[in-house]
């Protein structure tokens, strides 16, 4: 598989380097979002992936897995941070529908640019703009459910801020993202449909750091119901562990609502990111 080759080449390349980027404070880059951007689990954040400060670059790799009642999603990807100004990412998602014995694969190329600020130090929140270009490997299922396209591009604007000691001495983080998207279920069910409404969607995250290494938070991601299959907003409750500047592990309880006509898709999410 292409992504495995890419990941192993990246690992090989990175293992030849002795110095990893460590210029940011612990935990401040966030973790890896299911479409490959730096973020929470569901929402892309304003931070750029990895520990590169403005004089460094960083490479990260991640794999995530979500198991809900009737479906399973796996995603792996790589991220490149250039001088904490530009983030480039590439991810591949595999969506399993055991009931239909079907697998849907989608690749996502992402780019994010930091427009203003620093999530910790600037007076106003860090602000970034990003794009995620997504393309389905095989559009059979998307066409079957009535999607208009098998590829699409999301554009988002994200604002993030970490407030030191703000909640009775605990550090408090929040992020708000607005996204333009025509995607149905991340694009796994194609783009657009007969029931299209507004394409502007709201996403948000909030977390409290109970220690330097451990954050507990919630996320919300608004979804459009382009296909008329009752697609619902997503939410999760997550715990992220960032023991050092080389690895992070995130676990979450997911509530993804109705997916492709099947109600109450809840379950678990696990994600690991490695940083060089």
């Amino acid at each position: 598989m292409y992504i495995k080759f890419l990941l192993s080449m990246t690992l090989l390349f990175c293992s030849t380097l002795t110095v990893a980027a460590t210029g940011k404070l612990l935990a401040t880059p966030g973790v890896s979002q299911v479409e490959g951007s730096a973020g929470g689990g569901l929402v892309p954040w304003a931070q750029l992936a990895g520990y590169a400060s403005e004089d460094e670059w960083a490479v990260n790799g991640f794999c995530s897995r979500a198991d809900v009642t009737d479906y399973r999603l796996g995603a792996c990807g790589v991220q490149l941070n250039l001088f904490n100004r530009v983030e480039l990412s590439y991810a591949v998602q595999q969506f399993d529908v055991p009931a239909l014995n079907t697998e849907i694969e989608q690749s996502i190329s992402g780019a994010k640019i930091r427009l203003y600020g620093d999530v910790v130090y600037s007076k106003w929140p860090q602000l970034s703009m990003g794009v995620q270009h997504k393309s389905l490997d095989d559009g059979t299922v998307a066409n079957l459910v009535g999607a208009k396209n098998t590829r699409g591009t999301d554009v988002y604007l994200a604002a993030s801020k970490l407030h030191l000691g703000a909640l009775a001495g605990y550090n408090w983080f929040w992020n708000v993202t607005t996204r333009y998207s025509k995607a149905n279920q991340l694009g796994l069910l194609g783009y657009g449909g007969a029931n299209e409404g507004s394409h502007i969607l709201l996403e948000a995250s909030s977390a409290v750091f109970v220690s330097r290494e451990l954050a507990i938070g919630i996320e919300y991601r608004q979804k459009a119901n382009n296909l008329g299959l009752g697609e619902q907003d997503w939410r999760d409750l997550f715990i992220a562990w960032m023991p050092n500047k080389h690895v992070s592990v995130t676990a979450a309880y997911l509530d993804l609502g109705r997916i492709a006509g099947v109600d109450k898709q809840t379950g678990w999410y696990l994600s690991v990111t490695g940083y060089w």
Partner: protein, 139 residues
């Protein structure tokens, strides 16, 4: 959503109990004695560090120690007035980058951990110091 509401209730309870509204950070740090111990730990952290030691190589340690103690004391609302040089005057020409600045923050956090300063007090101290960054880096 029930679970998240429950956890957030627990969390707010936990947070509520740790509030100490009428005590200054200076007092929570253990006043002058606590401030001195923290500063000595911080100096030891810097002295053992390869990445940033060179910035301090030619500084007078006792001058730095006195200045740091009185500056922090006044920042944390202790009974001191900082009369030393301004942050800008001290750091001009040092050209400290973001990475090295954050590394010194890491060293200060190590020193605070070493002195068993509670996590919440550590954060509140960092919150007082963070706004000084603009007067320290890239000048």
């Amino acid at each position: 959503m029930k679970i998240s509401v429950f956890i957030f209730c627990c969390l707010s309870l936990l947070l509520g109990c740790t509030t100490q509204p009428n005590t200054s950070l200076y007092q929570q740090l253990g006043e002058q004695a606590g401030l001195e111990k923290l500063t000595d730990s911080f100096i030891a952290q810097i002295g053992n560090d390869k990445q940033v030691f060179h910035y301090f190589e030619h500084s007078n340690i006792s001058h730095f120690r006195q200045g740091f103690i009185s500056h922090l004391c006044s920042l944390l609302e202790g009974p001191c007035e900082y009369k030393g040089d301004s942050m800008v005057a001290i750091h001009t020409g040092m050209n400290i980058n973001e990475k090295d600045f954050n590394h010194v923050v890491d060293l200060l956090i190590n020193a605070m951990k070493e002195q068993n300063i509670p996590h919440t007090v550590q954060n509140e101290i960092l919150a007082k110091m963070a706004p000084l960054r603009g007067e320290i880096i890239k000048i």
